[in-house]
Amino acid sequence: MTSLRYFLTISLLLLVGVADGYACFGPYFQPSGYMMFRAYDPDGNINTADAVQENCLAWQRLTSMTIPIEDIRYVVYTMPLKEYEAFYDGTGTYLHNFFTGWISEYGRDIMDFLLLAKTNEYIRQKRSSRWYYPTMRIDARMTIEEVVEKALSNTSTRLRDRYLLQAIRALFSLGNYEECIKLWNDEMSKFPQYNAMRKLAQPYIAGAEFRLGHSDTAFQYYAELGDSESIAYCAKQMGKELTTIELIELVHKYAPNSSELERLVQNAVREVEIWNDNGGYNGYRDCTDLMKSQSSALYQLSLRIINEGKTSNPAMWYYTASFLADFQGNTQQATQLLSLAEKAKGTDYVKESIKVLRIYLDAKALPYDNAYEQRLFAQLQWLDNKIKSNITPEAQEKAIKNYYSYLSINKSYYYWNDMMRRVLLSVVCPRMIEQGKQVRALQLANMADNRLLGLVNYIRDDYYSNEKKTMVEKTIPLNEFRRSTKHFNHLDYRNDFFILTDSIGVDNVIAYYGRVRSPKSDFDRFLNTRGYVDRDYLLDIVGTQCLRNMRYADAERYLGAITPSFYGHLNVYQERNPFEIRYNYDYNDADFRYQFAKEMNALECKIASTANPDERAQTMVRFAIGLRSSFGWSWSLTQYFSGGGHYGSKEFKRWHNGPEMQAAYKRVDELITTACSIVTDREVAAMIQYDLCNFREVATKYYDTQMAKVVWGKCDNLIDYHAEKQSW
């Protein structure tokens, strides 16, 4: 019951999702802090690198398909003007480049064009330098005015769009905005919309329109280009600092289907998510009000946009409204809006995000009955498939390199795995426990912590190399890491699953172990194969918890079943004999828990079966010393963690002064009191006090015994050990 209460406290903390901040470290997020909102597909949008590639491909089509793209890219984008001029004049060194080879033989017009384009860029760059001052001489073979003249006088059809772009660029630099717009209206806009030169010219036209005071036209162009930064900049120039939501509204007004909207909406929602996870802080100040107003304004705007009916992606707006309704605490409203999102038209990308939100809202809202279990099973199968099939080399590398550090602070880095962890750890597991389904909660937590790790199957770790006499970093298979004594196992004893097993109660852990060994359903089997269910690992946890609960016969059974190859690689070790109050460095049994369980079990049996009061008393004292030390200096017999510091946001249970420890200490006191009261032989009584390190007692009360002589022979300033204080 206490364990359940304890775990519920943790779960509530998880649900609140407050990120802690510590000096010298970044913030620690709870599993609820994983970024969930996802609307913008970065792979579905052209970026600068794509535009460069597109242009190089266009040059390839214009010249020869056998010319490598890299050769084209070098000449068009990388080659400095001076080097190109030398090539153009035939005075440069030989270039092993197929593109220059081809154009010098078959494409004089291309050579001329590239000279003009490179000169244009060179001049424009000089003019944009901080050093530039009007009338400054620029070391180029033509002026920018001549660039315009030459570009416009060239009538070559195949290079016309390229020359027009150069003319527009040069005219823009000269501030001749009217002429830029005229060229656009007369010629450039006549090229098809997919024309790369037209696309590259459009931002200049937008800029020209704005400078001439035609802000509406400028916003229209910028919105079509998806350039919201320029819209915000222009609005600021006009004296209006746009909020994120106003910017979204403006882009929607001019281009309701721009993919820029997805990016802006995602940024706005994630901003709110981050502030929320930071407890309403943006790193500098309290922005709780801003967070509320931004989420509310975006929620309203989403509904308004759906009603206007101009968007071709209504699913995204329903999804946004649903997400924000839940964020504002209205899960029922969120569920209804999500149903509309599921039915509405939208991109595949957004549809996937909708499915994730469905899993999350179901987990929050549905009753945890058998029907839900089946639904969750199907949802997890889908999510698991996403984790498996979408893993990128980058995410894989991050998992190998930083698995533990990312896991311990719940840092977002691989969307599908993040979502599984968020749903399971922040919602499903706490609710399962509430419903009394502890075994299921353990299974799910195990999958949440270990699924990605199992897929990646490697870990990068550093350890001290005796050969190299230094720390060495190595990527090793997971199995080798777990069975090696060289590595400190930070993975399996610090994750959420372990923390849950450690606090959920020994009977639940035993039941969980049983379900791992004998699964009852397909869902059990599914979860078992996606968690870390090594038999020895689980046996050790079960056995240790039996020791913690003074169930020595059970402990002996479970710990005795562990294979020897598992010994010695736990996250703790034992170097002190638990049956001696005095420090003994020689004790270093690899299977120290098993040895302890065995002896405690034997002592317990002997106490029950021995009739001789002196022998029984001595057995009781030995048992009592072992029991006390298993929660004291030999705490690793009953625990995996003791102390104050740990890395990350995990809430480890500290067993110090817990009910198990109090029960054990009570029993110790009773045993010692009983032992002292039943002993009949003064020599045995003295030996008992000697074992308890009560040397003064031995010397004064049992002055006539052999043990008293031994004590006097060693020291004349005698004191007693106070077991209750664990000090002299």
Binding site: R130, W131, Y133, P134, T135, M136, R137
Partner: protein
């Protein structure tokens, strides 16, 4: 045969070099001639510095120039500083505080020669190491472009102002050398400011120098009597006669300010108008404005040890409010070459 070819090539190269050296010397001599000829006709050429970021003198200020026969005007054009580039992570060398020019009536500058001047910080100079040629080109071209664009008349000289020291000397000299070479073709001279502490070192490779006789003391020390000009601060540098390798002119201060100190004597701020400044309890203020007598005392010492100015005397700086503190007679005495 191969050896003979090599020797022949070496000989041609050496002759070529010799010719180049001769040409350089000839140009240097002719440049000196240009400068000397240009200023021979008048007995003294009075000059003044304009060191503000807006150049828009009013009628009275133009009148001041003409009344005092000031025919050379050194105008601060920009500062060259280092600035963190947050994209590249490097330090960029950039011009800042570029002077803005108001409308200039042609008759006002008809007989006035403008000397565009750039102040180069030591940090920028350090960053220029190895790239002096590149920055010399930028400096020269920008100064000339500013003069052209703002119709400041034909540029005959440009000036660099830099507080270089032993550790930055090589870079500064390389910068000056490169700049002078660039301007040689157009017969434009390069001058440089010289600070008192620089007198003991080699002269920079420039055509002329301008010795700064202001800001001679420690501004921030409460012990200082007058940080703008104090003969006691000048004397240590001019203990004996000095034959400075390049022609020198002298700049004298015609400005003043208040220097405010916290209780305890720590420097607080420069106060441009000390008369209206209120002091907190325990604060002190030092009023600094060299008197004409103090300036003339320094002038006497400077001319004794370094000789008469090569072209004329210069005052710092062209600011109506500051110049109002000096009478026409005071100004005439400072400019006087007698």
């Amino acid at each position: 045969m191969k050896n003979y070819t090599l020797i022949l090539l070496l000989a041609i190269t050496l002759i070529g070099c010799r010719q180049a050296v001769d040409e350089t010397t000839q140009v240097d001599q002719s440049m000196q001639q240009v400068i000397t000829t240009a200023y021979k006709s008048t007995e003294t050429t009075n000059a003044i510095y304009h060191w503000k970021t807006t150049f828009a003198p009013d009628y009275k200020e133009w009148e001041f120039l003409h009344r005092h026969n000031i025919t050379r005007l050194y105008i601060h054009m920009f500062d060259v500083v280092t600035e963190r580039n947050y994209e590249s992570g490097r330090w960029d060398i950039v011009p800042i505080a570029t002077t803005k020019f108001g409308q200039i009536a042609p008759e006002n500058i008809k007989n006035i020669e403008i000397i565009p001047t750039a102040y180069i910080t030591v940090e920028a100079l350090r960053e220029m190491k190895g790239k002096e040629q590149e920055y010399a080109e930028l400096l020269v071209e920008r100064l000339r472009a500013m003069a052209r664009y703002n119709k400041l008349g034909k540029t005959q000289e440009i000036q660099f102002d830099c507080d270089w020291t032993k550790s930055t000397r090589d870079s500064y000299f390389a910068l000056c050398d490169a700049a002078r070479n660039l301007m040689r073709e157009d017969s434009i001279a390069l001058s440089a400011t010289i600070r008192l502490h620089q007198l003991s070192q080699d002269a920079p490779p420039v055509d002329r120098g301008v010795l700064m006789l202001y800001n001679t003391g420690n501004l921030k020390s409460v012990e200082t009597k007058n940080s703008i000009l104090d003969i006691k601060d000048v004397e240590p540098y001019l203990k004996q006669e000095i034959k400075y390798p390049i022609p020198l002119d002298y700049v004298y201060p015609t400005y003043g300010w208040g220097v405010k100190f916290y209780r305890g004597g720590n420097f607080n701020a420069i106060v441009s108008n000390p008369a209206t400044e209120t002091l907190e309890k325990g604060e002190t203020m030092r009023n600094e404005r060299p008197t004409v007598e103090e300036i003339l005392e320094v002038k006497k010492l400077v001319e004794k040890q370094l000789g008469k100015p090569s072209i004329g005397n210069i005052i710092y700086h062209f600011d109506k409010e500051q110049l109002n503190h000096y009478t026409d007679d005071d100004i005439a005495k400072i400019f006087s070459n007698n």
